[in-house]
């Protein structure tokens, strides 16, 4: 108990509280700028943490990353420009709600269920950290291969277009992920002798190009849409409470899936959002409403997204294994501040550990009032003229993508992805599937090839290990099921026509 009080004293120190508040605002602003991701927001904080006390340093990282993940939903919802690969899964849904005149409701869902997801994720961290860590450690490359494959399957479920085109878009994404030397063989592929392509094509320029630049290109060819009616909205939260009671199952499922995927190193928030959105659609009673501004998928994916963020800290804190790029940076800060990850952190530095838990909770709680202010401010851009907003977006695309590696080649690739995204969208290819392919490509290949090296070329372990076999069954089932349904429908149609 005394350690618990000690922990509160550590958190309530004025410098820590100030650090939480400032980094929260920082995270909200950076995350909402198109082209800047949550990872970027965290990385840019590292030099600042040099000058902070250990608890304040970790507090800035935790708070800023949670805020940036939520605020990445804002441009996605208002302008159809997702801020993070995670929010790309449900951007179309959120944007459809905005066009229906419910931007506050859509953003409110993202905020409220993100915060709830974060709280549940933190609870899982507090209660079951050792158990979850044990689960994460039981995953070898065989399991990861099926998991990544399962993630890819989501492309066809999520898309509201021809499944053939969704698969084609996903394959294009996988092809883009092939470029460069970052493959298991360490062989340069499709680089055409260009040094800039050697490191491969990163997902951020692709995301910025395919969504933000393509959106500006679309705006060029259609007349300015009419202004949204200026409506008076009541409390943002009142509506959320109603939704929480209406969709308890979706929310719980989102949290659980988020926690499970988050705890697996390398999977992270991106995949959690995709899998949850696809699950919401699969199990929904009204799947046809998905993509037209329906809250169900948003709730599940939003909850999953932030739950995974908190549980991603489990392997980081216990074994120093980063769950995603954000925790990879955070581990560096932990070491620097003498809070070395490992089980001793939970025993010898128990008060610091409790302090981290409290900061997680505080971060997710202050997300609600700060997020509401942010939403109110951000919705102003819906009232601004298009020709005042779009130019700034083009500029942010250039500077934001440049900032991820301080390399002008990234700006060129953003331009190229703008054209690709525009052409794909116009011809019915889902752009989100392309992004998913880029995110997952390396994971599928690496785990497949390393598994084969380990098994001396035998495919058996892919189906023999218990967890692996379960995942394989789910994957193959998902693959065969829609085909069977389609064939069955074709058949009944044919017999009906014959009759």
């Amino acid at each position: 108990m005394s350690t618990f009080i000690e922990a509160w004293q550590m958190v309530l120190a004025p410098d820590v509280l100030l650090a939480i508040l400032l980094s929260a605002i920082y995270g909200l602003v950076v995350g909402s700028l198109p082209g800047l991701s949550a990872t970027m927001a965290t990385a840019l904080l590292v030099p600042v943490t040099f000058y902070l006390s250990p608890i304040a340093a970790i507090a800035t990282i935790i708070t800023a990353s949670a805020m940036a993940i939520f605020s990445g939903d804002i441009p996605g919802c208002l302008l159809r420009i997702p801020g993070t690969p995670a929010s790309a899964a449900y951007t179309d849904e959120a944007y459809a709600m905005t066009r229906k005149g419910q931007p506050e409701l859509a953003l409110g869902i993202c905020l409220w269920f993100s915060a709830l997801g974060g709280v549940f994720g933190t609870l899982s961290l507090i209660i079951m950290a050792p158990l979850l860590a044990e689960f994460a450690l039981s995953f070898s490359t065989f399991e990861y291969f099926w998991l990544a494959f399962l993630g890819l399957m989501c492309a066809t479920v999520v898309a509201r277009s021809s499944p053939v085109k969704a698969i084609a878009a996903m394959l294009l994404g996988l092809l883009i992920a092939c470029v460069g030397i970052e493959n298991p063989a360490g062989t340069p592929r499709f680089t055409f002798g260009m040094t800039d392509l050697l490191g491969g094509i990163e997902v951020i320029p692709a995301l910025v190009g395919c969504f933000a630049v393509a959106e500006v290109m679309r705006a060029m060819s259609v007349p300015e849409p009419p202004q949204l009616a200026r409506r008076k909205f009541g409390s943002i939260l009142a509506g959320q409470w109603k939704l929480t009671k209406e969709y308890p199952k979706q929310q719980a499922r989102g949290n659980v899936v988020g926690i499970i995927i988050g705890v697996l190193p390398g999977a992270g928030a991106d995949m959690a959002a995709w899998v949850s959105y696809a699950m919401a659609k699969r199990f929904s009673k009204t799947p046809e409403k998905f993509g037209t501004g329906h809250p169900e998928g948003l709730i599940e994916a939003g909850a999953s997204n932030n739950a995974s963020l908190a549980s991603g800290w489990v392997p980081s804190l216990l074994f120093g294994i980063p769950g995603d790029t954000i925790t990879a940076i955070a581990i560096g800060v932990l070491y620097m501040k003498g809070l070395n990850p490992g089980p001793t952190l939970f025993t010898e530095k128990a008060s610091s550990m409790y302090a981290l838990y409290i900061i997680f909770m505080l971060g997710n709680i202050i997300m609600i009032p700060l997020g509401i202010i942010m939403i109110r401010l951000a919705t102003f851009i819906l009232r601004a003229k298009r020709y005042m907003i779009m130019p700034v977006i083009v500029l942010l695309c250039a500077v934001g993508s440049f900032a991820t590696g301080n390399n002008l080649f990234l700006v060129i690739s953003v331009a190229a992805f703008g054209c690709i995204g525009y052409l794909m969208e116009k011809n019915g290819f889902p752009v989100a599937a392309l992004v998913l392919g880029i995110v997952m490509g390396n994971m599928v290949e690496t785990h497949f090839i390393t598994s084969l090296i380990k098994s001396d070329g035998s495919l058996l372990p892919f189906f023999a290990r218990p967890v692996s076999a379960t995942l394989a069954a789910i994957t193959i089932g998902l693959m065969v099921w829609p085909l069977a349904v389609w064939l069955y429908k074709k058949r009944t149609q044919a017999t009906a026509a014959a009759a």
Partner: protein, 329 residues
């Protein structure tokens, strides 16, 4: 003295000043007159980035001029390394070069080599350890080495990508024992942390990453370190023997980081950097920081660093040819 002649005198003095700026001592004294850019070829948040940032902030204090740390990522380090090499050789563009500069040209990825720079100082070196799972049957390195000899190709190792520094460390170690690289097949991974996880999950048998990278798993009792490939034990892990102590094989290797400038940097400026960097290398802030991260502090001045890189480069060439990774003779 009239106003006119005084003005002449001042103009003359200014001219003299300009001329003397090109003379050695004045050049070094006036340096630096504006902010310095420190290029890091790797992403923000990693070990190289952290080392560069602490060096940068200490350098800022020594020079009294801002030192901007810039991450130039892309091309697996090639982009950043070439940005350092092609910068203006005026001392305002320097960078942190890493062990990869002695590896990339063997793979045919770039023309850049260790002699494409003016070496200023070596700041850090981390030797790899030989880590096995806690449940592994091999109690010490001798037992492991015997098992490798008895069943070549059975045990699998990981730690980084194909052709990465820890892969070459393994190949070099096997070579020093007189074994071919195929005796322990390499399983590529996205860095040391996933490899350590796979070690704990039972997917692989050996991880040759640096001991600090494995520290959390060692502390958690999930893995054991059998030896390090260095000439002396690490003071933070006094129970881990060196390769020579364990099996009598004299092989050392390490991942290192140093500061270098574009080729052709004037000698006085280079000396000024080396003086400042030596002070930083010995400072309490730097050693405390490196100890906290578990990184090893190492020092070599410009000439020593050049020799160190040349030796490392030759050794890498041997190991990479042995592993079939070299694309260039």
């Amino acid at each position: 003295m009239t106003e006119l002649s005084r003005r002449h005198l001042m103009a003359g003095a200014a001219g003299l000043g300009l001329a003397s700026q090109l003379s050695a001592p004045a050049l070094a004294q006036a340096f630096p007159a504006r902010p310095i850019t420190l290029v890091v070829p790797w992403g923000a948040g990693g070990g190289t980035d952290a080392t560069a940032r602490i060096v940068g902030s200490l350098m800022e204090r020594e020079f009294g001029q801002p030192v901007n740390v810039v991450n130039r990522t892309g091309g697996s380090g090639v982009v950043g390394h070439s940005a350092i090499a092609t910068g203006a050789a005026d001392g305002y563009t320097i960078g942190m070069v890493t062990v990869e500069i002695t590896m990339m040209h063997w793979q045919g990825l770039t023309q850049l080599k260790h002699d494409s720079y003016t070496p200023l100082a070596l700041m850090n070196e981390d030797p790899p350890g030989v880590q096995v799972s806690a449940s592994s049957p091999y109690a010490d390195l001798k037992a492991l080495a015997d098992a490798i000899r008895a069943n070549p190709g059975k045990l699998k190792a990981s730690g980084t990508g194909q052709g990465g520094i820890w892969h070459l460390a393994l190949v070099g170690w096997l070579g020093a024992m007189g074994l071919p690289p195929t005796a322990v097949p390499w399983v590529p991974s996205n860095g040391a942390a996933p490899a350590m996880q796979d070690l704990a999950a039972g997917g692989i048998d050996i991880v040759t990453c640096s001991v600090p990278e494995a520290k959390a798993m060692l502390d958690a009792g999930r893995a054991r370190s059998l030896a390090i490939m260095a000439s002396a034990r690490n003071p933070q892990f006094p129970n881990v023997p060196t390769l020579k102590e364990a099996i009598g094989v004299d092989y050392t290797v390490g991942a290192w980081r140093g500061i270098a400038a574009p080729k052709g940097l004037p000698a006085p400026i280079a000396e000024r950097f080396t003086t400042v960097l030596k002070k930083i290398n010995e400072s309490k802030e730097f050693t405390d920081f490196m100890a906290a991260r578990g990184f090893g502090v190492k020092w070599a001045d410009g000439a020593g660093f050049a020799k160190f890189m040349a030796e490392g480069d030759a050794a890498m060439g041997v190991a990479m040819r042995a592993a079939g990774l070299a694309r260039q003779a």
